[in-house]
């Protein structure tokens, strides 16, 4: 499955990057293709292109704040989870997607 995700936490210090790493690792283990944009204190990194979003079958928002540039995802299936969930039980998110 082709998946794109955005992670963002209020302080932008650590959880943004930890959640991104967690999602990437598990997606790869499950054989999905994933690209994760991080919106932390280092600015927007690994920015999702229009093409990335168009090709994705699902978008994961693992965020505790508003996503920057949310309008880019209009018309795409989005599931939103808290960062806590992405850090503690990322497997659960993918189980939800596959159902």
């Amino acid at each position: 499955m082709k998946i794109v995700a955005v992670t963002a936490c209020p302080t932008g210090i650590a959880h943004t990057y930890m959640a991104a790493a967690r999602l990437e690792k598990i997606a790869k283990n499950l054989g999905h293709e994933i690209k994760v944009e991080t919106q932390g204190a280092m600015g927007v990194e690994n920015k999702l292109t229009e093409n990335d979003i168009r090709r994705a079958q699902i978008v994961i928002f693992a965020v505790d704040i508003e996503v920057e540039g949310r309008e880019r995802f209009n018309g795409v299936k989005v599931i939103q989870v808290s960062l806590q969930e992405a850090l503690k039980n990322p497997e659960g998110i993918f189980a939800k997607i596959q159902r």
């Binding site: 932008g12 210090i13 930890m18 280092m42 690994n46 850090l87």
Partner: protein, 315 residues
């Protein structure tokens, strides 16, 4: 203007300028008196902050209570104004955000530096405000060198004035970077080239080739070659080999696994070919390299080593 509250003002002034002002004000009025090092010598608790880049927190007001690992045990520290906390890459800290605090955190990424100014009332999950600024294409030589020196001292648990003076210097170096005019967003070719490099670094253990990478990015294989020729320092295949051999060096230095296992971890099917490729890049065989590492006195995975390795892996 007087009636405007902090959040309205934040909308009028860019986060960058507010962060610069706070940092200038801090450096003008305060000396760094103490630096805590979180060394990651115990396993991180749930939801602790662990990142693959180093971080430096400076308390501006209040008390930034947190848990860190130090010398093999976890402990609670209560940094106040004048105290800093340095957390090397892969080490951890866990702030509890229980009391009011204002804290500036610097994130030292591979290519950029991020700064986050968090104001927290305490007792709630969410901060009352968080401003972020970043310096793209971040490092100049002074910043990089001061940070590298601080990494070495952190690994050695060094005491004495050097640590706090270097921390102060690092803050001054960051202030200088924040105040220097931001570089233009890099050209598209450079961005594509950098994304490919990152992709290679993340996928070197899979059987990737110039063709599969080109396909992943929707480019023609020849275009990938052209990007490496024009923007990079070496050809695509040489870069892929370099990334794999760097990984092999890390494994040889830190783990006592067989050459065959290392070769296959780095996606070389043939151990003899792996040895030839290793020798071509390092001028010594893998076995000789491992022997050299064993004689040099080095901690098993010192943060300073991790730092150097990462810097060299990025072109």
């Amino acid at each position: 203007m007087k009636a405007a509250n902090a959040s309205t003002r934040a909308l009028l002034v860019s986060p960058n300028r507010i962060i610069i002002r706070e940092l200038e004000n801090f450096l003008h009025n305060t000396r760094v008196r103490h630096v805590h090092f979180g060394d990651g010598s115990t396993a991180p608790p749930a939801l602790a902050y662990v990142t693959n880049f180093a971080r430096l927190s400076v308390t501006l007001s209040g008390c930034h209570t947190m848990e860190i690992a130090s010398g093999g045990g976890a402990k609670i520290i209560k940094p106040i104004r004048g105290h800093a906390v340095f957390v090397p890459d892969h080490a951890w800290n866990k702030p509890d955000w229980s009391g009011p605090v204002e804290v500036l955190t610097f994130l030292f990424g591979a290519k950029q530096i991020g700064v986050s100014l968090v104001r927290h009332q305490g007792g709630t999950q969410l901060p009352s405000s968080a401003l972020k600024a970043s310096v793209h294409g971040g490092y100049d030589v002074p910043t990089h060198s001061i940070l590298a020196a601080l990494m070495v001292l952190a690994a050695d648990h060094s005491k004495g004035p050097l640590v706090r003076l270097l921390t102060e210097s690092l803050l001054h170096a960051c202030l200088r970077l924040l105040k220097s005019p931001q570089k233009r967003w890099p050209r598209k070719a450079i961005r594509t080239y950098e994304s490919i490099c990152l992709y290679v670094q993340e996928n070197f253990h899979s059987p990737i080739t110039r063709e599969s990478v080109a396909d992943h990015f929707g480019l023609a294989p020849n275009h990938v070659s052209r990007l490496f020729r024009k923007e990079g320092l070496m050809r695509f295949n040489d870069y892929l080999n370099l990334v794999r051999i760097n990984r092999a060096k890390f494994m040889l230095q830190n783990y006592s696994v067989t050459l065959k296992e290392i070769a296959s971890d780095c996606c070389y099917n043939d151990a003899a070919y792996f040895c030839r490729a290793f020798k071509k890049i390092c001028n010594v065989t893998p076995t000789e390299y491992r022997a050299q590492c064993a004689t040099a006195v080095q901690p098993r995975t010192s943060p300073a080593n991790i730092w150097q390795r990462r810097r060299t892996a990025v072109p």
